[in-house]
């Protein structure tokens, strides 16, 4: 599914150029569940953004299903994200002025789905995360766990090939964390999607099949978490 070859991403920092990701080689197969761990500033989120087509590598190649991302235009990358990638963020990133249902619908807007169908799919996604009865609630009226469920519903509503989760439980308490992890694992099993989770939490990492570690931009793979 993914094939990363000598991928480097360089940023201009205060002390000169910084290789956030440094010559990474990685292959990810369809349906895998992978955790990426590492210290803060080690390059986890940058790697996730490269996998999610939010950014292009400075050098090297990121190939997704035989399609090289570095050659794609911003518009093509946006289209790619709209169809293939689902994102779950640490801070949920819901639009505060829209209801839970409307937030989920936002992911279907770029696909040009008709309004009624869009609402139906969004409600279905909300029900699949157990929030069918909170469809008309604003994010501010939901708990942290509920907001993350809405964010997960938004990520899966378009039935993506890959679900990328960046510290999905970072802002949640322990009980809610287990709830969310349980939900992600269930979705991975039920939908057969590829799940890549960036986390500091070893408890989450233990539940994944592959454990990657990134430090100073260098990637290593642990055989066991």
């Amino acid at each position: 599914m993914y094939f990363l070859s000598e991928v480097t991403k360089t940023y201009k920092g205060k002390r000169g150029l910084v290789n956030a990701v440094d010559g990474i080689n990685l292959e990810i197969k369809q349906g895998e569940m992978i955790s990426i761990q590492g210290p803060t500033g080690g390059g986890k989120s940058t790697l996730l953004q490269l996998l999610g087509a939010l950014d292009k590598p400075t050098s090297g190649s990121v190939v997704f299903e035989d399609q090289a991302m570095q050659g794609m235009s911003d518009r093509d990358l946006a289209d790619f994200r709209s169809k293939k990638i689902g994102f779950v963020f640490q801070s949920f990133n819901l639009i505060p002025t829209l209801t839970a249902l409307e937030n989920v619908e936002m992911a279907l807007v770029p696909l040009g789905i008709e309004r009624g169908e869009r609402a139906r799919c969004a409600l279905e996604a909300l029900e699949s995360v157990g929030l069918g009865d909170r469809a008309t609630h604003l994010p501010s009226e939901l708990s942290g766990g509920q907001q993350q469920r809405v964010a997960i519903a938004r990520a899966i509503v378009k039935e993506p090939s890959v679900l990328l989760a960046d510290e999905p439980t970072g802002n949640l308490d322990e009980a809610t964390r287990d709830e969310i992890v349980g939900l992600l694992v269930k979705l991975w099993k039920d939908k057969g999607i590829t799940l890549i989770v960036v986390t500091h939490d070893s408890q989450i990492a233990k539940k994944t099949q592959r454990h990657l570690n990134i430090k100073d931009g260098k990637l290593t793979e642990n055989s066991a978490a």
């Binding site: 990638i85 994102f87 002025t97 960046d166």
Partner: protein
């Protein structure tokens, strides 16, 4: 989803939306009020001028006298007057062209009429009636007449003059002058008689052509106790006053004191076939300058003045208000409008900055930059429209307040007996008495030009678009990875 999202953003971020809309509303309101007051002042100027130059007159044409044509003369012949003892009483009435004013020939008039855009024209002949009444010493009693002024060969001084009004060779004169305008006797839609009401008697009729009949301005009539049916001596001829006319505009009086048939005026003043003034009505006010240029080109030597040229002759508080509104009001509107645009841009851009996370997320879930920009521009545009509508409402309230207050403006307009004040050969000409000015009191009525509503909406849309363009540009440049990294 576009409108749902847009509506939610505007209603949930009320403070920002209200600030942007309020800024634009104030600017638009100011533009509306300034425009309405400016329109009211223009209307007042037109009102002030219409009584003097005639309603419907867009362009006035006159001609400067050629060099050497000279000023007024009054010749007294040796046989003039009646001698009684040592006194010679003298009375003479003349009807003369106004000094320094040239005449326009039939050919020139035809050329003016043939200019494209001229829809109607009226030619008149402005004259001065001068009546001289006085007592002179008899010439035979003046021993010095034709001889030396100093002492004779024997050293005897010449005998002092005798006779005249004071018995010592002095003279006493009464000179009565009034303005006379020769006009067509048919009903006129432009020109000096277009804006008059007949107070007593009647107006001119077709049968009056070639007859000694006159219409007298009511102000002049009341000052000189002239009534309809009275006789008036003009150019040595007795005219019957058939009517007293008054300006039906706010002008205190009509352009001339007395009106007589044009053919009679031409004959009595020895100006057959010529005119002093042409009042022109144009097909469109937008074409005035073009028509003016065409007339000047077709008939060189004519003095052509448009209504805006004439407006500059209006003085008093009306002129002050006019320059205040046109200069300060105009600049103030521009400054406030620019400030409102700047504020809108600032708030929209800062709004985009506050929503970096939101836009970064939208891009992450697959929204193209164009869609994000469209959303920002849409919000900004609606905000601008709200500001525009509120501004129009505020502006209308301002106009209502101005009209309720109804400020009184005084206007002084030079009474150009040649038709146009201040121009070459007009009242501003050399050696002329420029004291004849009409003072009027007008009430300012600010009026809304319907087109202004669309202009105001246009301004608010422009403001919204500008703010949206800047905000949208910021959103478009936003890299989703940078946006997400900045707070994750």
């Amino acid at each position: 989803m576009f409108f749902t999202y847009l509506g939610r953003e505007l209603t949930k971020r009320k403070r920002q939306s209200a600030l942007v809309a309020t800024g634009l509303a104030i600017a638009i309101a100011l533009v509306v009020v300034v425009n309405a007051v400016s329109g009211g002042i223009k209307s007042a100027q037109t009102q002030a001028l219409s009584g003097l130059y005639g309603i419907g007159t867009d362009i006035s044409v006159s001609k400067e006298a050629e060099p050497g044509q000279g000023g007024p003369r009054f010749d007294v012949g040796s046989a003039d007057g009646k001698t009684s003892g040592t006194k010679r009483t003298f009375s003479k009435s003349q009807l003369r062209s106004e000094p320094f004013i040239g005449t326009i020939t039939e050919t020139e008039l035809a050329k003016v009429k043939s200019v494209a855009g001229v829809t109607a024209s009226i030619a008149t002949l402005k004259l001065n009636s001068i009546t001289f009444n006085g007592t002179l010493p008899t010439f035979s009693q003046d021993g010095s007449r034709g001889g030396p002024v100093g002492p004779d060969q024997d050293g005897n001084m010449p005998a002092p003059p005798t006779g005249g009004s004071d018995g010592a060779g002095g003279s006493s004169f009464d000179v009565t002058t009034f303005t006379v305008e020769g006009v067509g006797v048919s009903l006129q839609k432009i020109g000096p008689l277009a804006s008059v009401d007949v107070e007593s008697g009647r107006n001119f009729a077709a049968a009056d052509e070639g007859t000694y009949v006159a219409l007298v301005d009511s102000s002049y009539a009341s000052t000189n106790s002239v009534l309809a049916g009275d006789k008036l001596t003009i150019g040595g001829k007795k005219f019957t006053v058939v009517g007293i006319v008054a300006s039906n505009s706010t002008a205190a009086s009509t352009p001339s004191n007395v009106y007589i048939p044009i053919d009679v005026a031409q004959a009595l003043s020895s100006n057959s076939g010529v005119y002093s003034n042409v009042y022109v009505s144009a097909d469109s006010s937008a074409n005035l300058e073009t028509i003016k240029a065409a007339i000047e080109k077709k008939v060189p030597g004519l003095t052509v003045k448009t209504s805006s040229d004439l407006a500059s002759t209006v003085g008093g508080s009306l002129a002050t208000a006019s320059s205040l509104v046109n200069d300060m009001g105009g600049w103030l509107s521009i400054i406030v409008l620019l400030a409102a645009f700047g504020t809108s841009i600032l708030f929209t851009t800062s709004g985009v900055n506050r929503r970096i996370r939101e836009f970064g997320t939208l891009k992450a879930i697959g929204w193209r930059s164009r869609r994000v920009v469209g959303q920002v521009v849409g919000e900004s545009l609606v905000n601008g429209l709200i500001g525009g509508v509120a501004g129009i409402g505020l502006g209308l309230a301002g106009v209502w307040a101005v009209n309720n207050w109804a400020p009184s403006l005084s206007a002084t307009v030079a009474r150009a007996t040649n038709g146009f004040a201040g121009g070459p050969g007009g009242f501003g000409g050399p050696g002329r008495d420029n004291a004849a000015a009409a003072a009027l009191n007008l009430t300012l009525h600010a009026s809304i030009d319907p087109a202004m509503i669309f202009v105001a909406i246009g301004f608010s849309v422009l403001g919204g678009l500008l703010a949206g363009a800047f905000g949208g540009l910021r959103a478009a440049r936003l890299s989703p990875s940078v946006a997400l990294r900045s707070f994750e």
